[in-house]
């Protein structure tokens, strides 16, 4: 089973998030970088499938040279091959991103492509679906449970929606986008880290193209930040709390 996992380098935002003075980027002077929890789970899921059925996990990212850090993180977790689609710093839109990934999928040949349901930063919710249409493959998104058949020719993907479980049976090859909760990602092992450090990274530079949706500026939402009215301390506050609940109309 040849599996490709697509990850994206994004700032690790902690207590607050700020934008650069020109309003174009997240201010990353004080932050590290990581991939989103959805994508960590995608890597883990792919490794688990190949542990069971054999095969190789390749990990791909589209981003700057620095994104090699995120590829090595995935290699340390068990991916065997890494591909950097190197950008010149410009933000690729979802159409160009899907086209660049499709190019790699077609030239290498995969049975399954896993992505996170949405990128943590841009939240476009569409790269996996656009990729599937480029390839002519079936796609299921937001998946929280995946079982690949032992023959390797199909899978059943599940998610929950409004209290109903949805099961999707797909033939392979297919594209699946996953959500956090599908598994608990492992911690990298020491041998894994050492292997990741030495691994080769394959590189290419896809073409950037303009898209119909153009970012003008980012801003932090005008905050309704205030300090909460303290109703009291400990159990002594309970009568006041009950009064407020009644006032809010939830009793």
């Amino acid at each position: 089973m040849e599996i490709l996992v697509c990850v994206k380098r994004v700032p690790t935002v902690g207590g607050r998030i700020a934008v650069t003075p020109d309003g174009q980027e997240v201010d990353t002077r004080m932050s590290g970088f990581s991939v989103s929890p959805h994508e960590e789970c995608a890597v883990e899921e792919a490794v688990q499938v190949t542990e069971r059925l054999g095969g190789t996990v390749s990990v791909l990212t589209l981003g700057p040279e620095a994104a090699v850090e995120q590829l090595r993180d995935a290699l340390a977790l068990g991916a065997g091959r890494a591909v950097l689609l190197e950008t010149d710093g410009r933000e690729f839109g979802p159409i160009a991103t899907a086209a660049a990934i499709a190019n790699e999928v077609t030239s290498h040949g995969y049975d399954l492509v896993l992505l996170g349901n949405e990128a943590a930063d841009t939240g476009d919710y569409q790269v996996g679906i656009r990729l599937a249409h480029e390839l002519g493959w079936p796609v299921a998104t937001g998946i929280k449970s995946l079982s690949v058949s032992s023959s390797g020719d199909g899978l059943v993907a599940r998610r929950e929606y409004r209290g109903v479980e949805e099961a999707y049976s797909l033939p392979l090859p297919a594209v699946i986008t996953v959500k956090e909760g599908i598994n608990l990602p492992r911690y990298p092992s020491l041998p894994g880290r050492l292997r990741a450090k030495r691994a080769q990274v394959e590189r290419s530079s896809p073409a950037w193209t303009a898209e119909g949706l153009r970012k003008e500026a980012l801003r932090v939402p005008s905050s309704s930040k205030h300090q909460a009215t303290v109703l009291g301390h400990g159990v002594d506050a309970v009568p006041e709390l009950v009064r407020v609940l009644a006032e809010l109309g939830v009793l």
Binding site: V26, G123, G181, V220, A228, V250
Partner: protein, 319 residues
């Protein structure tokens, strides 16, 4: 001028998230056509008309049976073409984002996910504001396309009825599907938990690291039941395996829009705030008066949830 809005049903009524999308659709000017996948006699025409829908286009199960995202998108593409729609939108739900992304791929047009404001700016241009980082940042953007495709953030635009509603006309639409459109289709079965869904609950009682472990949730469950709500949790709770991931509120969990969010022992990491900022009112119970959650809550009780919550349960039972 016509804009089309995918409307999802919650039981017999339009889903709350869809009414928010319809409210935004109305602000674009022109006729608002709702597109539903249901039996024609199950279309909640009066409820839709109240929110300013002028026409309801219904795709019956004979056309597309069940949830098949690519087939739903194909139907929207056909209708948009037939009606000369200038915009097609949906609620920013799992289904709404998925169907609109398929529509973007089918038509080759850009799609803007989770918008909070969209304004026509002449010709093929719309100016918009959309969520990034699940709403922790806003992006101001320009969308240039013959048909504007976008979804509406589920926790930002309030659903507002129209001022002078008129009855909605109901049309049955038979889509022309392409090969492969029905290849991916949901087989649906009731999920384990059942009951009130976190996304639509009127009251959510939140539990975080302060709950202390998997055994600490019983008083929170009891309180949630008394308030007719459900329990939601922070990311640390699910990554520790104390509670299932489906109960997680936050950027990588569920976004909630309750009347009241009662956050117990939750410090308030921004990824959690991204999931609960749509709550109408927020009360925090926390031992730390400096916890970030207090900057987002309306009210706070400074104290240990293990004492405050059982005492609150007792007080509510005594009423």
């Amino acid at each position: 001028m016509t804009v089309l809005c995918l409307v999802e049903l919650d039981g017999a009524a339009p889903a709350d998230a869809s009414l928010r999308a319809v409210t935004l659709a109305r602000s674009l000017g022109g006729d608002v056509g709702a597109v539903l996948f249901a039996e024609a006699d199950a279309v909640p025409g009066a409820a839709l008309a109240e929110y300013g829908v002028t026409d309801a286009y219904v795709v019956e199960p004979a056309g597309v049976d069940g949830y098949a995202p690519q087939a739903w998108a194909r139907a929207l593409a056909g209708l948009a073409d037939e009606r000369g729609a200038t915009a097609v939108l949906a609620a920013g739900t799992d289904r709404g984002n998925e169907v609109l992304a398929h529509l973007g791929a089918i038509t080759g047009l850009p799609m803007a996910a989770n918008c909070t404001l969209v304004t026509p700016d002449g010709g093929r241009t719309h100016r918009l504001v959309r969520h990034r980082w699940a709403g922790l940042l806003l992006e101001e953007a320009v969308l240039e396309a013959p048909v504007a495709l976008f979804t509406v953030a589920t926790d930002s635009v309030a659903p507002v009825p129209a001022q002078a509603p008129a009855p909605a006309r109901v049309h049955v639409y038979k889509p022309e599907l392409a090969e492969g459109d029905l290849r991916v289709r949901a087989a649906e079965s009731p999920a384990g938990a059942g009951g009130v869904s976190l996304a639509t609950a009127r009251v959510v009682v939140g539990g975080g690291r302060g709950v202390g472990g998997p055994d600490g949730f019983a008083p929170l469950e009891e309180l949630a039941e008394l308030l007719g709500g459900v329990v939601g949790v922070s990311r640390v709770v699910t990554s520790e395996g104390w509670r299932p991931h489906r109960q997680q509120v936050g950027q990588t969990g569920t976004k909630i829009t309750p009347e009241l969010y009662l956050a117990c022992g939750i410090s308030g990491a921004i990824q959690h705030i991204a999931g609960c900022a749509g709550a109408r009112h927020m009360i925090a119970i926390n031992t730390d008066p400096g916890a970030p959650i207090l900057a987002h809550a309306d009210y706070a009780v400074i104290g240990d949830l293990h004492q405050v919550v059982p005492a609150l349960v007792e007080a509510l039972r005594a009423r």
